[in-house]
Each structure stands twice: as structure tokens, then as C-alpha cells.
């Protein structure tokens, strides 16, 4: 029993702090809006409608409370009602107390017309009113307290099932085993791995990707175009980090160099060049590659984390230089470059959003093809050897320095291509398009997608760039979630959402299972 109380207390404190944090960052206002969007479609009113949001807040807080209750109770696999209820109740009381006290303090301050927003910007009037259930401070706090307690007890009772749910785990394992067995049957494996199946799949993907842009509106073309550009960046950085294992944090520098080379060559403003799109894009790629080689030559033999910090510095240097007064004559400084040229085809303008989508799709397909060809080539295997162990790779005859340099140059080239496409599509590029956050975004795509895995880059780019574009309300929380996601992924699933197949095959090797001990 004392065990249940201790677990309940711990879960209660954690959940209490999390809920207070969500309140302080204003998520308790956004979440009910999102929920109401779920079942009422996109027809939303801009103004604050407390009657509409209240039930949704109750749902949101209730779910959190139930989750807290389950967490508090499941630790010692409760088999009796009493144990489960005690654990759930302790959790609920602790959470409720923390949340209630916060609600009371904030509510009292609000009623005495203290301007809390001077210090805590997310505590808008709407947020506070909603959090207090449109009551006065004391009643609202008591409501919160009651809600958390009741839902946590419900969660605790639900946790009784958890102990008995071990058969579910067994079932999942059995299904996994049978799937693995089926997949290794010669006939099935033959079909899956056969050339024709792959060609058929490829054909389907190509047909779909060329049919879709005609159907989507310009909004979807814009969103998916951004995703496509980030797929390119993901594949490029994946070559450097995922395969060669070199942590480069200044990837945005190559993106910026590509974008600026392209923009300077095609924009009318500072230099009146207005060159041909295709010629400019080739030069942009070359410039990015060259910068990759020039950066790589001096620094690639540095130790892993030094490399990270030096490249991070390089990314910042490029941005600061572009912005600085010294370079304003060349790069237009902080104002950026306008009217960047669009693509032309045989003298015809080719820059509608559908055409641009095609261009991006072609770039993505080409890059993907290149990456797949590289993955299993001698070079690709060399990279993976370097990633696993630099010294051993060198001993087995991989020219490590040249390999690393090649990976950096290739990654930079792809980033240059992406940068040029990005500048051309937006018809603008400025120094703030190339902030450190782009590097971090791409790093997130590589990590979340699965280091080394090409399909993972598609998934990662879609999840991290596409989904937030669709959920505009949560835009401000995107980076917060990215940060949390990086930490959680590294702890729970470091191999990513769609991991590279190679290590898995080795892990589940039949021979290893038979070794005793």
C-alpha cells in the first residue's frame, strides 16, 4: 500500500508540473481549440467562445488526468481494487493540489488586475478564464482539483487491466514472429525482393506523384513543395551524418550558399545578371560543392564533437557575413534578394506552382535514385565502415579522409540544389531564411526518420515539415516539440521511425539466437 502511495505521489508531481507547464505556455487554450476542430471541421470562429471550448478543456484535462492515474497505478501492477484506487487517488490528489494552487494563484492575481502578461506572456485573459472554467479563482481551482482527482481515480481503475494485459504483448510478439517467418519463406521473399515487384512499385509511385500536383490546390502544392525541399536536405545530410557519421551542424551554410548563388545570378537587383535558370542552378550546385570541399579540407580530421561545433560556427559565420554591412554591396545585406528568377523551358515560363511541384519531384526522384545507388556501392559501404569505426575502416583499406570529403561534398551539392529551388520558388531569399534553425530542422528529420534510411527521410520530412504546416495553431510549439522529440527519440528509439534495414538484419540473426547465454 505504501508503495502505491509513493508511486502515486511521484506520478502526481510529474503530471502536476507538466500540466502547469502546459498552462504557462498557453497550450491549455490551444488544445481545446484543436479538439473542437476535430469534430466540428475547419469552420472555426476567430473569437473566443467559452461555451464551445469548456467541454473540450474538460476532455483534454480529463484525458491527462486519466493518463496520470494509469501512470501512477500501473507501476506495481495492481490486482485489487483497493490498491488501484489508492494509487489513482494519491496521483489525483497530488496533481489536483498542484494544478489547483496554480489556478488559484493565477486567478487571484487576475481578479486583482495584476498584469501577469508582462512576465508570463502566454497567460492571456482567455487562457486564464478558460483554465478557471469561467468561475472565480477559488471555485475554478476547486473544479480543477476535483476534475484531476476524479479522472485520476478512473485512470487508476483502468490500470487494473494493465497487469492482465501481458497476453497482448505475447500476441504482438507472436504476430511479429509469424510475419518474420512468412517474409523469410522463399516464395514470399522472392516476390518481395524480385526486380519486377520493385519496378511495379516504383512505377506506381511515379505515376501517383505526377498525377497528384494536378489535383491539389496551390496550398497543397506549396506545403508538399516545402516537404520535397526538406526531403532533399534530409537525404543530403543523411549522407553526411547517417552514413559517414560526421556530425555537421552547419548544414544550412550550404543551403544558403546554393540559394544565394542562384539568387545573385538570376535576380535583377544588385548585379542585373538574370541568367538562365538551368545554368544558374548548376552553378549553385557547384558553388555549394566547392564550399563543402573547402570547408572539409581543413576540418574533417577533427574529432566528432569538435567537428560539430566548428561546422555550427561556419553556418553562423555564413549568415552573419551575408547580413553584415561589409557584404551589403554584394548580397544586399539584411534586406535579401527579391525577384529571383523562375524556371524556363525552351524559352517558355515554367513557374506555376504545379510546374514547380514537378520540378521538385524530379529533383527528389533523381536524388533518391543517386542515394540508393550510392548506398550499396563501394563508397557507401566505406562510409558505413567509417561511421562504425574510423580506425578499423582505415585498416581495411578505406581512404577515410577522401571518403569523408566526398560525403561532405555530395551533401553540400544536394543542399545547394535544395537552396536554389527554395530561392526560386519563393522568388526571394534573405539571411533569415538560413538561420541555424534550418540545420536543426534537417537534423531532426534525419534523426526522426532514421539515421541512414532513405525512406525515413521522406517520412521524417513529412512528419516534421508537412504536419506542422497543416496544423497552423500549433506552429509556435513546433520547435518545442522538436526539442522534446529529439530527446525522447534518442532515449526510446534511437534508430528512428523508419530505421535502416541493415543493422536489424544482423540483430535478429538466427545464429545469434542459438548461442547459449
Amino acid at each position: 500500500m505504501s508503495n502505491s502511495i509513493r508511486n502515486g505521489l511521484r506520478a502526481g508531481i510529474i503530471f502536476g508540473i507538466v500540466i502547469i507547464f502546459l498552462f504557462l505556455i498557453g497550450f491549455t487554450l490551444i488544445a481545446p481549440e484543436l479538439i473542437s476542430k476535430l469534430y466540428q471541421g475547419s469552420e472555426q470562429t476567430k473569437d473566443f467562445n467559452i461555451g464551445l471550448l469548456l467541454p473540450n478543456l474538460v476532455i483534454f484535462m480529463g484525458l491527462l488526468g486519466i493518463w496520470a492515474g494509469i501512470t501512477g497505478a500501473k507501476e506495481d501492477e495492481p490486482d485489487t481494487w483497493a490498491k488501484a484506487i489508492v494509487a489513482g487517488l494519491t496521483t489525483g490528489l497530488t496533481t489536483g493540489l498542484l494544478v489547483g494552487i496554480t489556478a488559484f494563484i493565477v486567478g487571484t492575481l487576475y481578479q486583482n488586475e495584476v498584469d501577469i502578461r508582462d512576465y508570463l506572456v502566454s497567460l492571456s485573459n482567455e487562457n486564464i478564464i478558460l483554465f478557471l472554467f469561467n468561475q472565480n479563482a477559488l471555485t475554478g481551482a476547486l473544479y480543477q482539483f476535483g476534475l484531476m482527482t476524479i479522472t485520476s481515480v478512473i485512470g487508476g481503475i483502468l490500470a487494473i487491466g494493465v497487469g492482465r494485459a501481458s497476453w497482448r504483448k505475447n500476441l504482438a510478439e507472436k504476430i511479429g514472429d509469424s510475419v518474420r517467418q512468412t517474409a523469410s519463406m522463399p516464395k514470399v521473399a522472392g516476390t518481395i525482393n524480385s526486380k519486377y515487384t520493385r519496378f511495379a512499385l516504383l512505377a506506381i509511385i511515379i505515376v501517383i506523384s505526377f498525377a497528384l500536383p494536378q489535383q491539389w490546390g496551390s496550398y497543397w502544392n506549396y506545403v508538399m513543395g516545402t516537404v520535397g525541399i526538406y526531403v532533399l536536405l534530409g537525404i543530403g545530410l543523411n549522407i553526411i551524418i547517417g552514413w559517414a557519421g560526421q556530425l555537421v551542424l552547419g548544414y544550412v551554410a550550404f543551403f544558403a550558399i546554393g540559394a544565394y548563388t542562384f539568387a545573385l545570378l538570376t535576380s535583377p537587383e544588385p548585379h542585373h545578371l538574370e541568367w538562365n535558370f538551368w545554368f544558374a542552378i548548376v552553378l549553385a550546385i557547384l558553388a555549394a560543392t566547392l564550399s563543402g570541399v573547402l570547408l572539409g579540407l581543413p576540418i574533417l580530421s577533427l574529432r566528432g564533437d569538435y567537428l560539430a561545433i566548428v561546422t555550427l560556427g561556419f553556418g553562423e559565420i555564413v549568415r552573419i557575413m551575408i547580413k553584415s554591412d561589409m557584404m551589403t554591396g554584394i548580397t544586399n545585406g539584411p534586406r535579401g534578394l527579391r525577384d529571383v528568377g523562375g524556371p524556363t523551358l525552351f524559352g517558355q515560363d515554367f513557374s506555376t506552382d504545379i510546374n514547380f511541384m514537378y520540378l521538385i519531384i524530379i529533383a527528389v526522384l533523381l536524388t533518391t535514385f543517386l542515394a540508393y545507388r550510392l548506398q550499396n556501392s563501394r563508397t557507401g559501404r566505406g562510409w558505413i565502415a567509417i561511421r562504425e569505426d574510423d580506425t578499423v575502416a582505415q585498416a581495411t583499406g578505406v581512404n577515410t579522409f577522401r571518403s569523408k570529403l566526398l560525403s561532405l561534398a555530395l551533401g553540400a551539392a544536394i543542399a545547394g540544389l535544395a537552396g536554389a529551388l527554395f530561392a526560386s520558388r519563393n522568388q526571394f531569399t534573405g539571411p533569415e531564411d538560413h538561420a541555424l534553425m534550418v540545420s536543426i530542422n534537417v537534423l531532426c528529420i534525419v534523426i526522426v526518420g532514421g539515421m541512414g534510411s532513405i525512406p525515413g527521410m521522406f517520412l521524417g520530412a513529412f512528419v516534421l515539415k508537412g504536419v506542422p504546416e497543416m496544423l497552423r495553431e500549433v506552429e509556435i510549439y513546433r520547435l518545442l516539440v522538436f526539442g522534446a522529440l529529439l530527446v525522447v527519440m534518442m532515449i526510446i528509439r534511437p534508430e528512428g521511425l523508419w530505421p535502416l534495414q541493415r543493422p536489424r538484419i544482423e540483430k535478429y540473426d538466427e545464429h545469434q539466437k542459438q548461442i547459449p547465454g
Binding site: S122, L300, R303, A308, L312, G313, G397, F401, L480, L486
Partner: protein
Amino acid sequence: MSENSSPQSSKIRISPGQIARLSAGIAVIAWMAWRLYTVLFVEAIYGIDTWTRFAISGLILGGMYALIAIGYTLVYGIMFMINFAHGEVMMIGAFGGYFVFEALRNIPMPTPEDPKLSFLNAQPLLSVLLAFLVGMTIAAIAGYYLERIAYRPLRQAPRLILLITAIGASIFLQNAAMLMFGPQRQTVYNPVLLTRGTGWEIPMGKSVVMLTYTGTFSFVLSILLLIILYLVVQQTRLGRSMRAVAHDKDTAALMGVDVNDTVSKTFIISGLLAGAAGVMWGIHNGLVNHFTGFLPGIKAFTAAVLGGIGNIPGAMLGGLFLGVVEAMGPAALGIDFQLKDVIAFSILVLVLIFRPQGILGEALSEEKL
């Protein structure tokens, strides 16, 4: 692979990377020497008073860098990871100090002479002490939980994974602060005693050099804290266990050192120092926002590398050196003051090329390399 196929050749082989690094480094140093010569002797724009001013502001900045750099060096020595979120720990400390000042400013303490007197100005010493106490404590708590939540589950993981986790934690803390406290910069209101821009005026050359109260206070306090830290690491039982764990984790554990406990305490000490640096940052520079910790964090890491990572006196020296270089560099090379961050990073690259072990040498155990 043809050029690598003669294993018996005992001649020293110079790789293209080394050539590139050497030539790039020599070119940069030659350029720097030329600029320095031009600025100092040919153009001679600045008099001795201006140089002193730059040096003073550099030393003040350097003291703060040194405090943060200690955190990087201690953690790097023990876990061999760049604690990327350390700058954010400093930012948390800065916010702690800011909120204490704000709270005390709003407590009225009227006296017959001055009816509008607040606690902040009635008890300036106590207020500053309280700000440091709160800022350092909050930062230490943040550091402790950072390690417990994000790094401890990954004790055996490869270094790349730890580094990515640290980057994630840094982004998370930064954005959490932005969402809570807002993106705009908050002005820190010091006690009147420490008003920014006031200080002792020392006549020098053609004009006077101002030695500000806030700057002097920050510098003296950082030196004091650095001395205390050095004594703790060298003289106490905790310091001995920290050094033991940094030297060899497994053997230290066999000798009865609680490794997890030592790592936690290391993070707490790093957090205390970073928190102190954060409060100083607020007092001296006067502006605090969620981004406050980011650049000082990276610079401080640079300082730690400069001095030789894992080496505590090295981090102190590196911090002071970097601060001075950053303050005097743009003027000495006659370039734009916007480019002072570029100078800091260039110094890092140069040091890594010519003396990767840092000025005073690394203090890391062999197995980690």
C-alpha cells in the same frame, strides 16, 4: 588506393587535409598580422584609452565566459559530451535573477525621506545576494534534472546520440522559455547602487576610461567563484571523486566512488556557476530573453576548447582570453564590429588546426580518445 599501397615507406606522409589546414591557417595568420600592423602603426586610429576600454569590457565578458566554460569542461571531462544545453542553464539563471529583481522592485519600503523607495533600493546588497542565490539555485536544479531526465538513460550510448540529445534539450529549454516569458527582451532593473553606465572614471591619455560598477562587480565575483571552484575540485572529497570519475569511470566505481552521484553533483556545480554567470549577464548587460544563453554558451564552449578541454585552469584562461579577443579583435583587425562572432569562431578553428589540445593541454583519460 594506389598511393596507400606502400606500407614500408617510413617517410612522414602529409595528407591533403594537413596541407590545406596548414596553408589556410598560415594565410589567415598572415592576414591578421598585416591587419594588426596596419591598424596599430599605419592608421593608428585608437589611442591607449580606447584600447583600455576594449580590454576592460573584454575581461568582464571573459569572466562570464570562464564561469560557463567551467561547466562545459567539467561535464566534458566526465561524460565526454558537449552539454549543448548548458547555455540554456545560464539563461534560466538569468531569468531567475531578473524575476527576483522584479519582485523586490515591487515591494514598497517607504522611508520618511523617500516615500517611493522599494526593497530593491532599500537593501541593495541583500537584493543582489538574493538574486544570485535564487538564480544559481534554479540553474543548479535545471542542470540536475537535465542530467537525470535527458542524459542518464543514455550513459552507455554512443557520443553522437548524447550530443543530439543535448541539442534537443537546448532547443526545448529555449522554446519553453520563449513560450512562457515571451520573445521580447526584458529589461533588468538593477538597484540604484549598480546603475549601468556609472562607475569610477580613470583619466588616461586624452580622455577618461570608465570602470563601471556592474562590470567591476561581475569581474570580481567571477574570479572569486573561479577560485572557490578550483579549491573545491582540488581540495575536497567531492573534487577528488570528480577527478577520479573523469580519469577513469570504471576504476573509480571499483574504488567506491558513486559515479551517478558524482555526475549529478558535477551538473549541479556547473549549473551553479552558469546561473551566477546568467545573473551577472542580466546585471551587466541589462537585457534578458530566451536567446540569452545560446551564443554565450557556444562561445564558452569555444573557450573551454581554447584552454584545453577537461582542464579547469584552461577553461578559466580560455574564457578570459576569448572575451578579450572578442572585444579587441574587430578593432585590432580594423573590421566591422558586427563580425565579432566571426572572430570568435575563427579563433576556435585556428586553435583546432594548430593546437587541437588547447592552450594548457587537454586533461582527458586515454580511453576516451
